[in-house]
Amino acid sequence: MSPKDAPKVELTLPIIPDMELAATKTAEVIAKHMNLGEEKTAEISMALIEATINAFEHSESDAGNVEIHFVIQADTLVIKVTDKGKGFDPSKVKIPNIEEKLGSDRKRGWGLKLIQELMDTVEFESTPEGTTVTMTKKK
């Protein structure tokens, strides 16, 4: 099966508190279909929570929605999380560490680090018109 013919699942989530959990329910069904196992399924769900929250919180989107596309390839799950916000420069995002967070007023800002640690690959495409985070997990 070529990536072009791979089955896809598309979700449109309104920016409403806790709606990221709707994305994880879908991810769990897809991961089960792909026989990904409990550990990888949990890692995908956690990364998806973080990517969706980032899209909700940082996009400052007028569209009011975040799009999530799951592409089920033979040996890889590809997840794209897209918002229509103002975009950001990933190279300017500082990698957090707890030593700096202790004593700092800002304890948050862990989303990208968690996504990078939990998924096999992560790529960002960001313009002033929006951001897409593409994450993959191999079987």
């Binding site: 806790d18 994880t24 769900s45 956690m46 929570i49 707890i98 948050r108 680090k113 939990l118």
Partner: protein
């Protein structure tokens, strides 16, 4: 909105907080309020039972970093037990396990706090 609840009890000097539900910003704030309330009465040893909070996000976990910081000021300790594997992994990635302790049961936690 997700439901989040907690139960607070004491075992000697140790305050045990049992959570249930999604540990997000709302859940994290409830845990910190419970801790700070007990800290005002002089308590400084806290154990959080996360058996019924198998889903967390980094905002909720960030609030635990705030609790660690406040406990450092009073020579206090924070520990957790009954963590789902992904929650423990998240705590490791975020570095919480350098400044607080994961236990595998309440008994082990109480012994470790002593």
């Amino acid at each position: 909105m997700s439901d989040f609840s907690l139960n607070v009890r004491e075992e000697g000097d140790v305050v045990i907080i049992e959570t249930a539900g999604y540990l997000n910003n709302v859940g994290g704030e409830k845990v910190s309020e419970a801790c700070y309330e007990k800290m005002e009465t002089g308590k400084k040893l806290f154990l959080i039972n996360l058996e019924n909070s198998k889903v967390v996000n980094s905002i909720g976990v960030s609030i635990l970093i705030e609790i660690i910081e406040k406990l450092q000021d009073v020579d206090g300790k924070l520990g957790y037990y009954n963590l789902a594997p992904i929650v423990e992994k998240t705590f490791n990635i975020m570095g919480l396990t350098k400044y607080s302790t994961v236990y595998y049961s309440e008994a082990e936690g109480l012994e470790g706090m002593a």
